[in-house]
Symmetry: C2
Subunit: 406 residues, 2 copies
């Protein structure tokens, strides 16, 4: 297998380094660059408290073109007022100036900034300034550069999260590759994380925005670790057109192909986030059907996925399915308990308002797998469905978050 | 100090015993009886999945009179279909028959049933039948009987939760005393628990219903341990009139006195639930003000109180106030971060969109107390307020709920 990292996409360079923000010596600064300005679309957090990089990122994405993403971890630059905004703008400006010097010309407004880490502290700008200058000299398009980037955006994640796909549009091969960070402060709207996807597809801005919006809804907005929507969520797709395919326009067959490929790729990233949630020992998929509406299905699925009682039962491998059914019951979704049905894995445990006669030992064995699937039909008589990824809740989550030092 | 338990109230008898539902040998059957039919009002869970005792309890409370409450723990009788309903009705019937035999005459519809414990299992009716017969012979009005009742309704609670008050209405002394269980599956609407309050006040049914509704809203509906609204919540007030005060009518001065006393009493019970939440090491009070509406204030306060990241920061005594502010940000409440203000204890940590210059060490010391107070002004320019009680999230919560056997 050749390079399947983000730098496998034609015209993209990347890199990461430790510039001194994190005490641990781990990478804390990362950069993704397209040799030519890319058509870009992004979805940001819905939190009303947002980091300065989100404010600046929203301004910059409006232009529709992005040439570089600059990301630091270790400090989120949130709740930092005007000084935070000045700092976020300076990160973009420094990145644009130094890359332009290196022959990849771009205006400041073509740089998308992200910061992740603790809230309420100012960025150490001295370190970031020299870090950007240094990092710009070390980006490249080899596999190691893409892998360094995937490492560089992590915080408490244990693993890098990457995905890669290739397909044809017309006679041209198109590549999409991406990576993301997740782990903690992971909840929908959108799924509280940073995700960067690069493609060499040629695609119109409208077509890209539609694909990004649809994909966010069905993938990253359907993953939750701890229901705490971050102030820094960013999912950005950069399409630089270097595949030289016929430009993808909205509503066409090639748009459907592209959207489908993007969705499959982001679905993989979303599952990786859930599986590597803070303290996670299991990957949980919650499917709700028979809901009055899709929104109702989502309410019920999220209530199940976010209930600490559900997550601890799964952690313990305990066949306590009453917690799943009762979580749906308080979700606000329409539900008819007498017609509801609940499955753990492929085992039906609850039907017609009563437990089935399946043995607890059988349910327990389904609960003790690494992947636990919960399916609940709300019995509301509709066709609404939703699928949500989450993980279990372990002592390790407490250790990570109670012992974390600000 | 004399008897301050629920049997301190004139005309009330109580008791509890182990009838064999729980493996542990702990009390699992409890009974509260009024010598004369009491005017009663109750609030039940808002979960759409409810236990059979809730269905029966709603029917019985409609009559307005309750003479006895019969409660078992170890099995919730939820998701048990028609058989569950038959069992819940039989619990009431057995209780009525045997107490009538003992000279406290009552119809079946005057008995309020509750069950708490695991969901999806049928009640062991043999044990409950003989338990009721046995327990009815051992109820009494001594302090030990009231204390046994307060013990008998517990599940994973570590402590009994009781409150007592006396005051005058006209020239007559009125007593109110209550107890409750909480611990896990504790969330608002209503606060997922069983609470029984007895009073000898004479009060009209309408006046009592209004007082119970108002009190539930400001006390039990403002406590959350794990946001998981139970299927079995019951808060019942029995007023048997034996104080012989002039009957309390709605909207009068005596109604306000009674309501205020009931609220203070239930506020104490609600705080006790939070302080004894599963795995709790701290009592947390979240106050939100400056909200557009009270409903918005409640949304923000609940988002803060339910965030695992907030709860683990408090557990660790970590001065990570960004988690409080960001939880309000995703709550859906209107918020203006630039005008918002956050205090930990009496220390202002965030103001005008920026951190104050208070030292982390000072915040840390406020976070390391047993009682942690978080106050957030949303800066939305309104007068909406809400106060919520919760606890921290510890490894012990995981141990209790992951290692719990169904």
């Amino acid at each position: 297998m050749g390079n399947q990292s983000i730098t496998a996409v034609k015209g993209f360079l990347a890199g990461a380094m430790h510039c001194g923000i994190k005490q641990s010596g781990k990478p804390d600064l990362a950069m993704l660059v397209s040799r030519v300005p890319a058509t870009a679309a992004a979805v940001f957090t819905t939190n009303k408290v947002v980091g300065a990089p989100i404010v600046v990122g929203r301004e910059h994405i409006r232009g529709g073109n992005v040439s570089a993403c600059i990301i630091n971890s270790g400090c989120a630059n949130v709740c930092t007022g005007k000084r935070g905004l000045v700092d976020a703008r300076e990160m973009c400006e420094r990145t644009a100036v130094i890359l332009t010097d290196r022959g990849i010309a771009m205006p400041t407004r073509n740089v998308l900034p992200s910061s992740t880490g603790v809230i309420g502290h100012f960025l150490p700008m001295e370190k970031i300034r020299s870090g950007i200058a240094n990092l710009a000299l070390h980006i490249g398009d080899a596999a190691e550069h893409g892998e360094a980037f995937a490492h560089g955006i992590l915080t408490t994640d244990l693993k890098t999260k990457t995905a890669f796909t290739q397909f044809n549009i017309g006679r041209r091969a198109v590549t999409i590759a991406g990576c993301c960070k997740g782990s903690g402060m992971i909840a929908p709207n959108m799924a509280t994380m940073l995700a960067y996807v690069a493609t060499d597809a040629a695609i119109s801005p409208t077509a890209l925005r539609a694909a990004v919006r649809d994909t966010a809804e069905s993938t990253f907005n359907c993953v939750t670790v701890d229901q705490h929507t971050s102030t820094s969520d960013t999912f950005a797709v950069l399409a630089n057109g270097m595949a030289e395919n016929p430009r993808i326009e909205p509503g066409t067959q090639s748009w459907r192909s592209f959207s489908r490929a993007l969705e499959v790729l982001c679905d993989s990233l979303a599952r990786q986030i859930a599986a590597d949630g803070e303290g996670a020992t299991k990957l949980v998929t919650v499917r709700v059907l028979g809901a009055a509406t899709d929104a109702d299905a989502r309410r019920a699925a999220m209530a199940i996925a976010n209930s600490p009682l559900v997550k601890t039962a799964i952690h313990g491998g305990d066949p306590n399915w009453g917690r799943f059914v009762s979580a749906a019951g308080y979700s606000g979704a329409k539900m008819n308990p007498d017609k509801a049905q609940c499955q753990v894995g492929k085992i039906t445990v609850f039907r017609n308002g009563q437990p089935t006669d399946v043995s607890l030992a059988n349910i327990q064995s389904a609960m003790q797998q690494f992947e636990v699937d919960i399916t609940l039909n709300l019995g509301a008589g509709g066709k609404g469905t939703c699928r949500v990824y989450t993980c279990d809740l372990s002592r390790e989550y407490i250790a990570i978050n109670a012992d974390y030092h600000t």
